[in-house]
Symmetry: C2
Subunit: 343 residues, 2 copies
């Protein structure tokens, strides 16, 4: 059987461009005992993909993609054929072999740093693609970062950067649903409009509209207690200045450095000393014991319509390069998804 897959044709030089990718056809070998054949429905386009496109990725992270090899990413698909006793044809599953039409997957097989092992998903809580967003790794990352990593406590004022993105939009809503004053930031006026008028945040700003610290202070005149950091660099520096005593930062990502830009470290780390601040980095996989709790809480909010999901959807595998470049350029609102159209 022939399956199309997205490969890295060349490493980006300077800014990422769609020419770095290619779609190639590959003959899938015959299904083995223990495997299932999955037809992909949705692929999640995550910031983590951006970190694996350059020849030299961040130390200690997942290795860069090899040229000519298919990309990997979290996906939802439907089992077409099963040689595993654990799954049956027709089951909906999540797994890590997105960015292709079909995949042969094995329960208990490869993961992305502990995330994304093949598992059946329910059909009654949300739409299949929600399992790549609020009901999946994205939601867990948002929940874990706020609750376990930042130790969200009553009365905390919360800033979420990249708040119109997949993870940020869920994190900002979780903080709102728990009764906090929430400030969101994003890189376009459309996104700020989304944060204020669709998500109902207390304040929001476009970080292109001036000095970050002044903008943050304008939105949070009394300072902040928790910063959910998706951006790093100057955003983190502004947060360190505006955090109050015993403030906390959950470092989830640093997308400001993902598209080949020079990474600048916060020059005001002494603020961490002066104000007894805590900065904690995390990968959601390190907090697996919170997964069930996160899914239960978020599932309930989704069912009740209290948590809103929004996605930017690219139709068809051939548009996956655009989806990835769009994510890198901050062009997308909500979760970035590629919908498979397999004929």
């Amino acid at each position: 059987m022939v399956s199309r897959e997205l490969t890295l044709a060349r490493h980006p030089q300077g800014r990422l461009a769609v020419e770095c990718f290619a779609i190639v056809e590959r003959e899938l070998g015959p299904i083995q005992n223990g495997q299932v054949l999955v037809r992909n429905l949705w692929t999640s386009v995550d910031a983590s993909v951006l970190l694996r496109l350059r020849e030299l990725g961040p130390e200690g992270y997942l290795p860069p993609f090899a040229l000519g090899q298919p990309l990997i990413g979290l996906a939802v698909g439907e089992v077409c054929e099963s040689r595993s006793p654990e799954l049956a044809a027709g089951d909906l599953v999540t797994h890590i072999y997105g960015f292709r039409d079909y995949a042969l997957v094995r329960p208990g097989g490869e993961t992305l740093a502990g995330v994304g092992s093949l598992r059946r998903i329910r059909r009654d809580i949300g739409a299949p693609e929600d399992y790549l967003g609020a009901l999946g790794h994205t939601g867990i990352t948002a929940y874990v970062g706020l609750i376990a990593v930042a130790g969200l406590s009553p009365g905390d004022i919360v800033w979420v950067s990249a708040a119109a993105g997949g993870t940020g939009s869920v994190a900002a809503q979780i903080a709102k649903l728990r009764g906090h004053v929430v400030i969101g930031s994003a890189g376009s006026d459309d996104k700020v409009d989304y944060l204020l008028n669709e998500l109902g945040l207390d304040a929001a700003f476009n970080y292109h509209h001036g000095d970050l610290r002044s903008l943050l202070r304008g939105s949070a005149p009394h300072g902040i207690d928790v910063y959910y950091d998706n951006v790093g660099g100057g955003h983190l520096e502004a947060a360190l200045y505006e955090l109050r005593n015993h403030g906390r930062v959950a470092l989830c990502g640093a997308i400001s450095g993902y598209d080949g830009e020079q990474t600048v470290g916060p020059r005001n780390m002494f603020q961490v000393v002066v104000k007894n601040l805590t900065l904690r980095g995390f990968r959601a996989g390190a907090h697996a014991r919170l997964e069930d709790e996160a899914m239960q809480v978020i599932g309930e909010w989704l069912r009740q319509g209290q948590l809103k999901v929004r996605s930017t959807i690219y139709e068809g595998l051939e548009r996956a390069p655009e989806a990835i470049v769009g994510l890198a350029r901050g062009a997308n609102i909500g979760k970035t998804l590629v919908r498979s159209i397999v004929t």
Copy 2:
């Protein structure tokens, strides 16, 4: 009564120099009810003084010293005359009005960010000057940073920077006494010799002798779990690379930026995400509940001769400028002290 005091004659331009200071005579007013007159014996020369010499100090920190006003610093002295029911002539006390011959002090009066309120000290545990070092704020800072802030746990490999300094030398010894593998770094071969041969650390290096990260890796080939940071800048960056998963940093200070040097932020904050690291800044005053415990544990080690104290002593108030400049240049081993010689 006339008392000499150290004043800031001009703010440093570029590197700090002794010409920035002056010693002036001042008529002390008459002792008031509730006050005691203290003749100073020792003044502690702390990195915090360096942060208050420039016209513009770090945001959120103690304000810069005003020109012509006496400097303030932790001191040990003897009560000459008391108008307070809490203290009697002959009592040894600690207080915050160092850098002068005599001071009029009031119980419950001014502190340095919660530290250094006037209190009587015992004469049977250590020498008076130990109350400015291991038995005082320095010891508490070392203890709190390791135990409460870094959460020192069995098996942790510990790096202490500026390990030959007042706080660093106590922190490194505490970690050794608790059974850890301890690496120390310092800025001269004499200091490295002190760390290896007097304090018995497992490894030590002079950070001038090459690339910081390579030097650290040479001393800690399996990585580190805890970094006690007195330096900031490039030291912190090296630590973020060499910390293992779930590693912790106690940010105590950033002396690399105190002498007017350009402060550089760590450019590899993404390592904090990748390895689930925790960075916590602290001021010992925020952990006052641990003071008694710290003093008991450290006092016991001192009595048993297990914890060694060393100081660089400058004789006479007129040498206080040299002491401060010496601290800024990294010239001193152990605690930097000025001994008062009042005739």
